[in-house]
Subunit: 199 residues, 4 copies
């Protein structure tokens, strides 16, 4: 049960927070391209080695910075007591609205930049963040299948990818992040298709 007590001075957990905060505000101000470990360390009132001791790379740091700011609570919008279609409607509205907020949009773009910049070590990072959303949506869809609402031969992963990917695509191509909120009736079309297709 006892953790192995490392010898010497223990790490100050407060530094973690300071670094992550500095990372987020730098991300908001300058975007991913304008980020630098140097500026983050200075802004956090911390030495560079302290940053490197905790995160091995810029991508990992950005990953953690984004992780504890957003997306972690989004699946909560899925209320398991309602019918799947209603659950998804509520969730997609909440998800798109959150993504359209400039502050969150910057985080998602940063994550995208980190992932696309160096696919090798960063792709899993992006996936780690979307997985929570993705799996929640698939679970909900699966419930719909089991209740007979949706066809059983539908590729639920593909549907979830379409919903999340659509928002991402809008963020990348629209200058005005407000547009992202208007998801149109995409979900309605998908739900109709899930009930009807193949017939």
């Amino acid at each position: 049960m006892d953790e192995v007590r490392r010898r010497g001075r223990p790490r100050d957990a407060g530094r973690d927070k300071a670094i992550l905060d500095a990372t987020r505000s730098a991300l908001l101000r300058d975007g991913y391209a304008g980020l630098s470990m140097e500026k983050i360390a200075t802004a956090a009132g911390v030495g560079k080695p302290t940053v490197y001791r905790r995160w091995p790379s810029k991508a990992a740091l950005v990953g953690d910075a984004v992780l504890d700011s957003f997306l972690s609570d989004a699946p909560d919008a899925l209320n398991p007591d309602r019918p799947p279609a209603e659950q998804l409607t509520g969730w997609y509205q909440a998800y798109a609205t959150a993504a359209a907020e400039p502050c969150n949009a910057a985080m998602i773009l940063a994550l995208t930049a980190a992932a696309s910049e160096s696919p090798r070590d960063a792709r899993s990072l992006y996936e780690q963040h979307s997985r929570a959303q993705h799996e929640a949506v698939v679970d909900c869809l699966r419930a719909g299948v089991q209740s007979g609402d949706f066809r059983s031969d539908a590729d639920l992963n593909a549907v979830a990818s379409a919903l999340i990917g659509s928002v991402l695509y809008q963020l990348l191509t629209q200058t005005d992040t407000a547009v992202v909120v208007r998801t149109g009736n995409l979900l309605d079309i998908l739900l109709a298709g899930l009930r009807a297709f193949g017939r």
Copy 2:
């Protein structure tokens, strides 16, 4: 018709090609993060100022490099003589297959990195590349609406975004690009929804 001849020695068009080629192979080898104007110039057998004279930034250069390598001919898969649903099926297959090729995947990721890294000057860049695809798909859908195949109150932009965004999302989250090809039956679901929803 005669363009006004700019004074001074005209630019050598061959350099453009050499630089774009060097950019593409560097992108394939090292990804967007490993790119450097310095190495591109050297690989192209060209001085750095020659690069900067033509492209103001790495993002702009990557944009053009990707533009003239791929995606320009993809909309050709839409054959206007067939019914819209068939057209879309053929196109989506072709699009996903092309995007899954490692070479093209690298280009799309590079574009995504450029656009997400510095939204300000680069977002239009990404949009410029997807616009051709996007508009072709929307046109095809619109034809379906006019022929009575699809419901008239569907948000066609949302559907197109779902198709393209889904592929993009897969590229970012899947380590194995081959997975992208399997678009599942997303298009079938959407088509069914387009015919049925609201009824």
Copy 3:
């Protein structure tokens, strides 16, 4: 006797003047270090090749620019009708005064920079400019020797070098060019020595 007439359009002599003027004002403004062929050409309203067609290097251009602005008339202060000592007194006063003028000081420093920067091709350049002064002084001293005013075993070149070199040394070491004018009684001491030494 006839110069070989070069065929084709003859050079426009007006450009020479424009280039030399531009060189001099650039020299006054920025010093030798701030000089660039590029800026000179632009300031003179002339293309770079026009400059290179006439002067092979920055040093050569600076040489000519200094030459036709100053120093060419300084030996005139030596009036051959007066006794050598008086001649030299008048000349040294004129020389030091001219050298102390900020405009002339800048030219001399430029010449010194050109000569010291690349001894190989530029040393003769400096020598070409001081030769007129140097020889005039030596001639004057020689007249004093022949008239019996000065000892015949004096090294006249050494005396001339001391006079000119002293001014140069002051220019290099004194921030305040006005100081250069005060040559003290160096010439008096030298003249006394020329009459007396060895006795």
Copy 4:
């Protein structure tokens, strides 16, 4: 007495030496014009920022490089136990001989180039180097005045300037540095003048 220990990793004094050595050999090989911070850093096995951290400009670096190689011990030739005239004779011989050595000549020319290139920030630099020589000579002359050997109304600074300036002038105008050694009988003339003039 204890200096306040600056925080952080202290500078490695060995780098200073390596950089100064590299500067001197580059100066000998290519002259001041051929100097580049880039090559110096490479030759010293040092990064460019390490050079710029210690010297703000090429001129300052050259100044220090010359300073600790030469001229610092030259005044030693003045032996205070001998009569001033003998002291000066010995010193001038040593000084001219040292200046004529190709290695030292290159250093003096580099210093001259640095000082004349950008008078603003570099003139004091040259002065700093010649001051030791200059003051030693003036002190020696003053001793001669006090002992009654030299006239009391002589401008001693002017005499020192003539001696040092004469050598400098020769270095700039003579291609053959060996010539510099032959200072002629300039010092004899000056000494005679210092004893006799005005009488």
